[in-house]
C-alpha cells in the first residue's frame, strides 16, 4: 500500500480510536452526576396551560439504588398526603381517604401536564435503557438509547450530554415508530452541597401543543434509607421521613 494512503488511514483512525467511548459507562456516570445513589429532594412541578394558567405541585421525593422511588405530595391541598411508589416496573398511588395503594402506569400522570409518572418517578437511565451508540456532537456527546423492555415509557431516547462532568442538557423521547413525543431540557446547574446538577427540567410535547411543564429541584441531598421505606406498608407514613 502506498504511503499517502497509509497516512490517510492513520489520520482517519485517530478520531475513531479517540471516540471509542464506553456508552454504558458514560450513561452510569450521567446517572451518578444527576443523583447520588440514595437521596432526598424537594421538587415543584409547574404546569402551564395554553391560556397561561399555572398549576403547581410540591413534592418530597426519596430514591434509592437504581429503581426505587417514593414521593409525597405536599401541595396543593387537594393532593396533599397522596404518595406514589415505584419499584422497578411497578408503580402505586396511595390516596389517604381511599386508605390503600392502587397500581398505576408509567404513561399516566398523577399531576397532569406534560410530565407523566415515568418522568416524575424517574429511575436511573441505565436501569431502563441500553446505549446503542455515542456520537460526537461538538461540545457534547449524543447518546442513542434503546429501552431494555416494553414496559419502559419511551422506546428510544436521544440524550445530549456535556463532555466535561457528563450531565444531560437535552433528552428527546421517541416512540418505536420514531415519533418525537417529548423533549426534556436540563438547565440552571446548581451546587446543592456536594451534588452539582441541573435544578430545572423543562418539557414540552408536540402532542400537547401549547402546554409546558417545569420541574424545579430543591434541597437535593444524599441520605441513607432502608429498603423498607420503598414498600406499600410505608406509603401512608412517607411524611415521617421529612
Amino acid at each position: 500500500m502506498s504511503r499517502p494512503w497509509l497516512c490517510v488511514l492513520a489520520l482517519a483512525a485517530v478520531p475513531l480510536s479517540a471516540y471509542a467511548i464506553d456508552g454504558e459507562a458514560l450513561l452510569k456516570q450521567v446517572d451518578r452526576n444527576l443523583n447520588p445513589p440514595t437521596y432526598e429532594a424537594y421538587r415543584k412541578i409547574i404546569n402551564i396551560e395554553p391560556n397561561g394558567k399555572r398549576r403547581e405541585f410540591v413534592m418530597f421525593t426519596v430514591k434509592k439504588d437504581r429503581d426505587k422511588v417514593a414521593m409525597l405530595f405536599l401541595s396543593p391541598a387537594t393532593e396533599k398526603g397522596r404518595t406514589t411508589l415505584r419499584l422497578g416496573d411497578n408503580m402505586w398511588l396511595y390516596i389517604p381517604n381511599v386508605g390503600k395503594p392502587v397500581r398505576i402506569t408509567s404513561l399516566q400522570s398523577v399531576v397532569g401536564g406534560v410530565f407523566n409518572n415515568a418522568d416524575i418517578l424517574s429511575v436511573d437511565y441505565s436501569a431502563e435503557y441500553s446505549v446503542e451508540r455515542v456520537e460526537d456532537a461538538g461540545a457534547e456527546n449524543l447518546l442513542h438509547l434503546k429501552a431494555k423492555n416494553r414496559t419502559v415509557a419511551y422506546d428510544r431516547l436521544r440524550m445530549w450530554v456535556t463532555k466535561k462532568s457528563p450531565q444531560p442538557t437535552k433528552i428527546e423521547c421517541v416512540t418505536a415508530a420514531g415519533i418525537l413525543v417529548k423533549t426534556l431540557r436540563f438547565k440552571d446547574i446548581k451546587d446543592f452541597g456536594g451534588i452539582t446538577r441541573p435544578a430545572t427540567v423543562e418539557t414540552d410535547s408536540p402532542l400537547q401543543k401549547g402546554y409546558r411543564s417545569t420541574m424545579i429541584f430543591a434541597n437535593v441531598k444524599a441520605r441513607a434509607l432502608k429498603d423498607e421505606v420503598f414498600t406499600l406498608a410505608y406509603m401512608p407514613k412517607l411524611d415521617t421521613l421529612q
Binding site: G52, V102, R103, G210, A218, L232, A233
Partner: protein, 431 residues
C-alpha cells in the same frame, strides 16, 4: 405609532405572554414541616331525588312521613384531620361531622372515624393503638376479604370509612430476590357495647392477621380472622400488571359460619347458615385515548337470589296493605327489621358487574374528569347508571356533579330502591 403601542400592550398583557414570562421559582418556605398539621375538607352537597312512591324501599324508608316529590336534600360535612408527629410517634384523629336537611327535618351526626397512636421503634416496625380504618382487599367497588371494614358505597368507593378499634402491629421486611417485600400485620380488636359491637359478641375479642408480599411483581395478601363469637374467616387477594396499561386483580373471602335471614312471601323467616364464599375479579386498563376503565365481577354466595328478593318485596307490600287496612304493625315491623339488616345492604344480591370509565383533562380542560359508572345485578339485569364530572378549578376546590338513573321492575334489586333518579352537586373546600 399608536396602533403599534396598542398592539404591544395587548400582547404584553395577554395571559399566554404573561404566563410565558413568569419565572419558575421555588420558595423553600413551602416545604417547612410543622409537627402538627390540620387537613380535611368542608363539603356541601345539595341533592334532588325523583322518588318511586310505590317502590318497597321507598315505603320502608319513609314510613310515617309523607315527603314531597321531588325530594330535596341538603348535606354538609366537615372532615377534620389532625396529625401530630414527634420523633417516632404519630397521633392522628379524623372526625366526620354531618348536617342534613331532608323531609324529616334537620339531623346531625359527629363521630371519630379514626383516633389512634402509632409508634415506630424502627422503620421496619409500627405499633398502632386506637381506632383506625384498615381498608383491606384489592377490589375497587367491593371487598369480600375486608371482614372488619365497614361496607363501602359502591357508587362512591373512595369515601373515607369509619374504622375499628384495635391494638396491632405491622412488621415489614424488604428482602431482595423473588420476594421483594413481606409485611405481617397482626391485630386484636376488643368487642364491647359501643366498641366494635357490629363485629362480634360483647366480651369476645377478635384476632386478625394479614400477610402481604410482593412476589414476582404481584401483590399478594392472605387474611385470617378468628374470635368475636363468630366463625373463622379467611381471605386472599392479588393485584398485578399484565402489561404497562393493564392491571388485573382478584379477591376472595370465606365465612365459615355465615348466616342470613330468608323471608317468604307469607312472612315466615328462616335462617340459612354455613360456610359461604364471596369473590371478585377485576381489571383496570388505560386505552390509547387515556380513558381509564375499571371493570369488576362480584359474586356473593351469601347474597339473595332474585326469587328471594321478590319474596321479601312481596311480603313488604303485603305487610303495608295489612297495616293500612287494620293498623296491625306486626308484619310491618318485621319488614322494617329485615330492611335494616341483610336485605337493606347496598348490593344484597348475588352477582354483580361494575364498570367505571373516566378520562382526565377531558375536552381540553385541565383537571376536568368526566366519568360514567354502571352497577348491574347480573341475575335480574337491573342496574344503576351514573354520570359524573369532577373539576378542580384551583388548589383547594373540588366540584363534582353526579346524575344516577335506576332501572328495573319494582320487585327487583334496583327497581325496588326508593328513588328512580338522583342528582347532586358536591362542593369540597380542602383545608
Amino acid at each position: 405609532m399608536r396602533r403599534l403601542l396598542s398592539l404591544a400592550a395587548v400582547l404584553l398583557l395577554s395571559p399566554s405572554f404573561v404566563g410565558a414570562q413568569e419565572e419558575a421559582t421555588f420558595d423553600l418556605s413551602e416545604i417547612r414541616k410543622e409537627p402538627t398539621t390540620i387537613g380535611g375538607y368542608l363539603e356541601v352537597r345539595p341533592g334532588i331525588y325523583a322518588p318511586d312512591r310505590n317502590a318497597p324501599y321507598y315505603w320502608l324508608r319513609t314510613f310515617g312521613h309523607n315527603p314531597a316529590s321531588p325530594l330535596l336534600q341538603w348535606d354538609s360535612a366537615l372532615q377534620l384531620d389532625v396529625k401530630h408527629q414527634a420523633g417516632g410517634t404519630t397521633l392522628f384523629s379524623r372526625t366526620n361531622s354531618n348536617l342534613r336537611h331532608e323531609y324529616r327535618g334537620w339531623s346531625t351526626d359527629t363521630r371519630f372515624y379514626e383516633a389512634y397512636a402509632s409508634v415506630r421503634p424502627t422503620q421496619k416496625l409500627t405499633l398502632d393503638m386506637g381506632k383506625k380504618s384498615l381498608r383491606w382487599g384489592k377490589g375497587y367497588a367491593w371487598n369480600p376479604a375486608a371482614f372488619l371494614d365497614r361496607a363501602k358505597d359502591p357508587e362512591d368507593p373512595e369515601l373515607a370509612l369509619e374504622g375499628i378499634t384495635f391494638v396491632g402491629a405491622e412488621y415489614t421486611s424488604a428482602a431482595g430476590g423473588a420476594v421483594k417485600a413481606l409485611t405481617v400485620s397482626p391485630l386484636v380488636a376488643p368487642v364491647f357495647s359501643g366498641i366494635n359491637d357490629r363485629l362480634g359478641s360483647a366480651g369476645r375479642p377478635l384476632y386478625g392477621l394479614k400477610l402481604y408480599s410482593l412476589v414476582h411483581d404481584t401483590d399478594l395478601d392472605l387474611i385470617a380472622i378468628s374470635g368475636g363469637g363468630r366463625g373463622d374467616r379467611y381471605g386472599a387477594d392479588f393485584s398485578r400488571n399484565l402489561t404497562p396499561s393493564l392491571e388485573v386483580h382478584g379477591e376472595w373471602g370465606r365465612d365459615t359460619r355465615a348466616s342470613r335471614p330468608i323471608v317468604d312471601a307469607a312472612g315466615s323467616v328462616r335462617t340459612a347458615g354455613g360456610s359461604t364464599d364471596a369473590y371478585l375479579m377485576g381489571v383496570r386498563f388505560i386505552t390509547p385515548q387515556e380513558i381509564t376503565v375499571i371493570a369488576e365481577y362480584y359474586r356473593n354466595n351469601a347474597g339473595y337470589s332474585p326469587a328471594e328478593m321478590r319474596d321479601f318485596f312481596d311480603f313488604t307490600s303485603a305487610s303495608r296493605a295489612t297495616f293500612e287496612a287494620t293498623g296491625d304493625r306486626t308484619a310491618m315491623d318485621r319488614a322494617l327489621d329485615l330492611a335494616e339488616g341483610a336485605y337493606g345492604r347496598a348490593n344484597a344480591g348475588r352477582s354483580y358487574l361494575y364498570v367505571r370509565a373516566s378520562r382526565p383533562d377531558a375536552f381540553g380542560v385541565t383537571q376536568l374528569t368526566p366519568a360514567v359508572m354502571l352497577t348491574m345485578n347480573l341475575d335480574d339485569r337491573t342496574f344503576t347508571l351514573t354520570q359524573e364530572a369532577t373539576y378542580k378549578p384551583e388548589g383547594r376546590l373540588e366540584l363534582r356533579g353526579q346524575l344516577s338513573i335506576l332501572s328495573g321492575a319494582r320487585s327487583s334489586d334496583f327497581g325496588a330502591k326508593a328513588n328512580d333518579l338522583r342528582a347532586d352537586l358536591r362542593v369540597r373546600w380542602f383545608l
